[in-house]
Symmetry: C2
Subunit: 441 residues, 2 copies
């Protein structure tokens, strides 16, 4: 471990788009980093899969290796930065680096969601830093805020837009009335969505990130598999049009709420958000996170949730924090933060978070265009203790003799709404139940 005024040696694992950004920042800004932290940094080694692939920046070949041991077993490295992504082998590499007494920085949401508590406990034991600002929210400094600046708060909820791919698609659908499949194809053409978009559009990526943020906010592990997820593929352009008429935007929200009994309910799904709320105005690939605490009230952080530069900002912020601490320390290494994630408050995370949810709802049905239809539907909803707030009948189609019926409800129990909708769908006058979307006020 390097001390005094000597250079801090850094090993980088993964040199893809964002890893390349981190490498460029380390190589190009050594002087600025010294001014900001008091110490020189040196990118000593970078792990790649394929030595022959052309890269930007083009690194001196002696820096590149395909052998992880060249990083994990190098006693000269002070900091290991993991930019490989995926649970394995990245998780094992991080564990080995920490066990070897190296400070580590990772952008890996999946590893932090799956192994965060055990890795943080190991880091605490080995007295090294494990920092992961880039693992949720990209360039938005939310992880550090939850760990430090907002730590005094008793946090009651997080509501966030933390998947840029989804938000890009929804923004296109809302603005141009683009069907889902076309908006997805556009996102893929722009490089905002992957060839297999499942992780993004089904809410899995957001669930990992929410797991990380929720664990920090609520001081207990929030396993990603206990996050309820619902994708965006059922949304249709007309949902955006009707929502707009009612004064709402449709966003995919990642929400974690502390229930009155202390349990946490975590969920990712499309939601109607009032037009005048800042979250309704987060457009394109931007992300935003709203945190509500007993002291801070409502705080919203807005910025770029992904991309090479924004992610590099977060990763390098972590790296510089460690370098600065090493520069200021003549004794033992700087000490780890103790994010809540590593603690276990012993309180529940709700395994079935959605059935008992109380929420207002938007529902869209295709019905026969005839008298008495609404009465039949209203009867079923009423029997299920569901109060109707508004009804709009729209887009009557004389050809098929059908119309679109859009109903919003007052807050009701999710299980009641689901069960009433099943009954509604069996009515002879109902052609289809097209959508059910929760409303977040």
């Amino acid at each position: 471990m390097t001390r005094g005024n000597s250079t801090i040696n850094i090993g980088l694992m993964g040199l893809g788009t964002v890893g390349g950004g981190v490498a460029a920042s380390l190589l190009d800004n050594a002087e600025a980093i010294k001014q900001k932290t008091g110490r020189m940094v040196r990118l000593k080694r970078a792990l790649v899969r394929d030595l022959s692939r052309p890269r930007d920046p083009s690194l001196p070949t002696e820096l590149l290796t395909t052998n992880p041991e060249d990083i994990l077993s190098d006693p000269d490295l002070d900091i290991v930065v993991e930019m490989m992504g995926g649970d394995s082998p990245a998780g094992e590499y991080l564990e080995r680096a920490i066990a070897a007494g190296k400070h580590v920085v990772t952008a890996n949401k999946e590893v932090m969601s799956r192994r965060g508590p055990s890795l943080l406990a190991l880091a605490q034991e080995r007295r090294v830093n494990l920092l992961f600002e880039a693992s949720a929210g990209g360039g938005i400094p939310i992880v550090g805020c939850l760990m430090s600046q907002l730590l005094a708060n008793d946090i009651s909820s997080i509501r966030s837009i933390i998947n840029g791919t989804t938000n890009y698609i929804l923004t296109r659908m809302a603005r141009e009335q683009t069907p889902f499949a076309d908006a997805l194809a556009e996102a893929q053409a722009h490089g905002y969505a992957e060839a297999d978009p499942t992780n993004d559009i089904e809410g899995i990526d957001a669930a990992y990130k929410l797991s990380v943020l929720g664990s920090l906010a609520f001081h207990r592990p929030i396993p990603h598999h206990l996050v309820y997820t619902e994708g965006i593929s059922r949304l249709a352009p007309e949902d955006f049009r009707y929502a707009a008429e009612l004064g709402y935007a449709i966003k995919s929200l990642a929400i974690a709420v502390a229930e009155p009994d202390g349990a946490v309910r975590a969920r990712v799904h499309p939601a109607l958000v009032p037009d005048n709320h800042l979250l309704a105005n987060v457009d394109g690939v931007y992300n935003a996170i709203e945190v509500t605490g007993d002291l801070c009230g409502q705080i919203i952080l807005h910025g770029q949730g992904a991309g090479r530069d924004a992610t590099t900002s977060a990763v390098m912020g972590d790296v510089l924090g460690i370098v600065r601490a090493l520069a200021n320390s003549d004794g033992p290494p700087p000490l780890p933060d103790t994010p809540g994630m590593a603690q276990d408050g012993g309180l529940d995370v709700l395994a079935h978070p959605i059935d008992e949810l109380s929420s207002a709802y938007y529902m869209r049905l295709t019905c026969a265009d005839q008298a008495g239809v609404l009465a039949q539907i209203a009867q079923i909803l009423g029997d299920g203790n569901i109060s109707i707030a508004t009804v709009i009948q729209k887009d009557t189609d004389p050809g098929s003799g059908t119309a679109q019926l859009v109903i919003t409800t007052y807050p009701s129990r999710e299980a009641d709404v689901q069960s009433a909708l099943r009954a509604v769908s069996e009515l002879g006058v109902v052609v289809s139940v097209n959508n059910l979307i929760r409303i977040e006020e």
Copy 2:
């Protein structure tokens, strides 16, 4: 200095509204703080001006003192929290506490603006923390973000709404067309403005805060007296009406920009902000700060910029950070951050930041309602190299034979605009130049 598992002793200087919030948080949350940081804290002593004043929370009388020596000379105190406000004696007390090797936390924008560099240098020398999250942005975690999470960025600009009093007044004027004097009186009645509102409405409070934020962002001291300030008292309800027609809100912005030559231009003044920008939608006593960096892009933090709870959130975040570091340390005390404020990049802060500004402008004139008026004005503007973007003639008053002329320009040099407007004001057909407001796109 306390080590190991023993309790961390805290002295509090100032027990006003916010100081009382910090005291309540320390007294009520000792157990939660221990869970979050690993150590117990104890409020050992609180400095007050008047022992007999009733307080919320009511503190045990033995905690209260009117003698600052009971805090500054107590070797048992680990952390001193300064909540007195004002430059003196708070500044001297902070200096003495740091010199005595105590960690200090302050919410004092004036002290951090005037004495930040020297206090931070002293803290560095004495190897203690000087933290000041609450000195700018209230409950919004911007200070820590600039110091840590965003540190890797080369920051090009800060644009912010950081005075809640002004923003409350402007929001009232915009929404209800309330004249300035009435909106100010309302703010005073609600306790949002002081009996002497000068510091808020003339931009002095915002200049202190901008000095703190700019120093951190640009890594050099930004003295508050080099911040150009312009108050909001000249704004009239019709300015908000005309701005709205043009697609803008009017906000008092605190702006610091790194010029291409590396100098910093810092200014506080009313500005037209496009309706669709998040800053245009920051209402009432809320604050927001936009930071633009080379890596992070545009980040916006939105939240409560003042008030007992929000400020307590920031102060207690700092306190908990120090407690956590002490809890994790068996050796020397935790080491100070090195915020840019304490460094001197040797680059200029522009002493006359406004003359050479390039900006688009909104101007409102009262003119004779007759043919040829616009031609005369346009001639003068054209001679001054000022290109007109839009012209609206409004509110013709047959009684006085006058009309309101609202002109917006393309980006022009401030000195040219000021000089052209002086010439315009001397035209016989111009009754008055009512307002000149910069436009921030």
